[in-house]
Structure formats: structure tokens, C-alpha cells
Amino acid sequence: MIKVENLHKSFGETKVLKGISTTFEQGKTNLIIGQSGSGKTVFLKNLIGLFEPNEGNIFYDQQKYGDLSTSNRTELRKKIGMVFQGGALFDSMTVEENVMFPLKMFTKKSNAEMLHRVHEVLERVNLNEANQKYPAEISGGMQKRVSIARAIVNYPKFLFCDEPNSGLDPRTATVIDKLIQEITKENNITTVINTHDMNSVFEIGEKIIYLQDGILAWEGTKDEIHHSNNKDLSDFVYSSNLFRKVRQAYQKGL
């Protein structure tokens, strides 16, 4: 579980996050949604420790991040898996080496043991035909799968995904969404996904928070979105005809 208390973040005079408090539950896919510039990425970067908040606290399973020593922070980060928007795979390494990287850095496993685990997770993400290829030689969808495999290879307790299906065709995006949800359930991890893809919201959003101008404007489940009175949220979620029709159908009980 991740608990956020009154999180503030500014860059110079610009206040990006203005006191966000929420909880991300274990074993659930938690989604952060919001328009471009609403502070989603800055919020996520605070959660994963790439930015230091100006004010407020983040608790990872009761551990207050701000109070942790450097070595304890390093230990905590070993429990974090991250899927970056562009994959962030290491260009100079093959798929297999990319996935093996966290094991090489943080475990004392033998090469055979590491390879066994790598093949296990690559199989889990349905990718076992590209082990010796370099990231530049595989498709965007495959890169996302490799990135997920790398994120989960060392048994993380927290999984963060920054727009995991951006740049993917709808079918592959759905496959990636489902994969992340299944992995979350199987390993009972706390997953936080930053997205503005409404398909993801209605497919896998178990808890959704909506950011607007750096504040938490709404939180709830995907079903609760349909009943929300928040006009900005409605404008954002139902900006396309398709989703307006989904709401109408939902409200008619279809």
C-alpha cells in the first residue's frame, strides 16, 4: 500500500502539485488520470523518488520515504518496478540482458538461476522469441512487454507504469493493460498507472484518481465515474462520442 499525505511540489515559482492526499491499495490497479499539464507525471516522479517533494509525506507500507536513510531508500527502490512511457530499455543490451539487469545488480544468483528467472518472466509476458534481439530490433508493443518483464523480474512490491500503452494500437494496448492487471493480482502488488487512455480506465481501473491543476479533483472506481457530478472529470472522460454513448448505455442499465 502507498499512502500520500498533503504532497506539494513546485519548480521555482510554479506550483505543480498543491497538496495531494490519497491511498493506493495493494493488489489493485490504481490509475492516475488527468489532462496534459495537470501534474500526473510530476506526481508519479515524486512517488518513484525521482523528485523530492517540497512538502508532504509518502508512505510505502508504513515506511515514511522522507525519513529513510540513503541505504534504506536504495533497499526500498529494489522493491519498485517501473515501466516507462518509452520503455527506457538499455540500447546496448539484448532483451535477455535488459530483463536480467536488476538481477545482476541486486542478487547473488548464479548465471543459470538468473537465466531461468528471465525466461520465466519473458514467458509470462508472452515474449520468448526475441531474447537475443536488441530493443531497436523489436516492435513498440514488444518493447513494452520487455519493460514490464524487467520491472517484475526481481519480485517488486510496487509497480509504477507511465502511460504504458501510449503509441500502441488499441488491440496491443488492451493486451498490455490486461497483462499489468493480471500481474498485479498474481503477485498482490501495488500498481500505480499514469494514463490518459480512457480504454484503460474502463478496462482495468479499480481505483482512479483525477488530477486537475495539481489538485486531486476526484477519486473513485470506474463505475463511480458514470455518476460523478464533477463537470471537469465528465468533460475529460466523455470527450469522445464513443464514451458518451457508453455512459448513456450505462445509465440506461444496458
Partner: protein, 245 residues
């Protein structure tokens, strides 16, 4: 103000590079990879440049020594002094600021743009140590490349001088060994070590702290070449003033 900020951040980067070391087994592989990329792969251009610079220095010296009272051994002497003291360590280092420097800046800059550095940080890895430290260690082998540059440069000088008909082989060899000061070798290698450190760290700084996209990677490589060259030239002056004057 910006310069002061950059200089301060450069020294903080150096400090950060030596903190929280990467696992030794991984580090060794990285160092070997960097020795290959930065030093061994530069040998071809170093040898090529050194040979022709040595040859040109000899021809220029020979053509300008028209006074019959000046012994022709001076051509070998001048070639040795200019190659060992300046052309091999300094001139080659400025060339390397272009070759090695732009490679370092663009490779680290691309990692920044594609969030690979963020990925290292999220995993709890000190990205500075992982990326910059192996380059600093690899560049400790750079003086070997400069030693080769000295030999090849003098070889080029010998061939151009003797086979170009400017002086006899004995005259060249006499000039080469005449009034030899071992301290000059120390001076040349001392500054080579300093240049090696600058060649590894200044381009790394420009790559690591760059912001933007592909276009900015290109700009950062150019800026890195300019600043590495400038700092090498200034460092050369200071070291020469301190050690030789």
C-alpha cells in the same frame, strides 16, 4: 552566474561519481567495454594523425633551417621536442575531445532523453557511478595511446626527414637523442593524465545534465567539444607554467 553554477555542478557530479559504487562484477565489464570504446577504437585515428603531424613538423623545420651554420641534427631535436611536449599529448587530446568527447556526450545524452538514466535511478543505482566512473577508469589507459602517438610521430618524422632527403639518418638520430631531459616525459604524461580525466568528465557532464530531445543531444555534443578543448588548452598552459618555467 551560469558559469559558476555549471562549474559547481561539475564538481558535485565528480563527487557523486565516486559514491555508492556499482557491484564490482558489473563494473569490471563496463570498464573493459569503455576501454575498448574510448581508447582502443581511437588508436587508428591517433596513429594516422601522429604519423603525418610528425612528418609535417620535420619537413617544416627542415625547410625553415636554411642557415648553413645551424646543424641539421636540430631537425631531429625539434621533431622530438615538439612531438613529445605538445603534439602527442595536447594536439591529440584536442582531436580526442571531438571523437571521444562527442561519443560520451551523445551516448549519455541519449540515455537521458530516452529515460534510461531515470530507469537506473528508480532501480536504486547511482547512475553517475554506473555511467561516468567506468569512463574515468578506462581513460587511465589513454596515456598508452599517447605513448604510441609519440613513437609513431617520431617514426613519421624520421621517414619524412630521411627519405624526403632533408637529412641523413645519423643526423636525425643524433638530434633525437641530443640533450634529452627525462623530466619532459614526466611532464608530457602528467598532463596526459589530467587531459584524460577532463576528456572523460566534461563530455559526461554535458550529456548527463542535458535537457530536451535529439536536437539537444547534437547541440550538447558540440558544446561539450568546445568546452573540453578550451579547458584542455587552459590546463595545458597552467601545467606548463607550473612544471617547466
Amino acid at each position: 552566474m551560469n558559469y559558476i553554477f555549471s562549474i559547481g555542478r561539475y564538481f558535485l557530479m565528480i563527487k557523486g561519481t565516486f559514491k555508492k559504487m556499482t557491484k564490482r562484477r558489473v563494473l569490471w565489464n563496463l570498464i573493459f567495454q569503455e576501454v575498448n570504446d574510448l581508447v582502443i577504437k581511437s588508436l587508428g585515428i591517433i596513429i594516422f594523425i601522429s604519423f603525418f603531424i610528425g612528418a609535417v613538423v620535420t619537413i617544416q623545420t627542415a625547410l625553415n633551417l636554411t642557415n648553413p651554420l645551424i646543424p641539421r641534427e636540430l631537425i631531429g631535436f625539434a621533431a622530438r621536442q615538439s612531438i613529445i611536449l605538445e603534439f602527442a599529448p595536447t594536439f591529440v587530446s584536442v582531436i580526442m575531445a571531438g571523437k571521444v568527447g562527442s561519443f560520451i556526450t551523445s551516448s549519455i545524452g541519449t540515455m537521458r532523453v530516452t529515460e534510461q538514466i531515470d530507469a537506473l535511478e528508480v532501480m536504486g543505482i547511482n547512475s553517475l557511478n554506473y555511467l561516468v566512473f567506468p569512463k574515468i577508469i578506462a581513460m587511465l589507459f589513454y596515456p598508452f595511446a599517447i605513448a604510441i602517438a609519440m613513437f609513431v610521430g617520431i617514426g613519421g618524422a624520421y621517414l619524412a626527414g630521411v627519405y624526403g632527403g632533408f637529412l641523413e639518418a645519423d643526423e636525425f638520430l643524433n638530434g633525437l637523442t641530443d640533450d634529452f631531459t627525462p623530466f619532459h616525459i614526466f611532464y608530457a604524461f602528467f598532463k596526459t593524465f589530467i587531459f584524460a580525466f577532463l576528456l572523460a568528465t566534461i563530455p559526461a557532464y554535458h550529456g548527463y545534465y542535458m535537457k530536451g530531445g535529439a536536437l539537444e543531444v547534437g547541440k550538447a555534443s558540440t558544446t561539450s567539444f568546445v568546452w573540453t578543448s578550451v579547458v584542455i588548452i587552459i590546463a595545458n598552459y597552467i601545467i606548463t607554467q607550473l612544471l617547466l618555467s
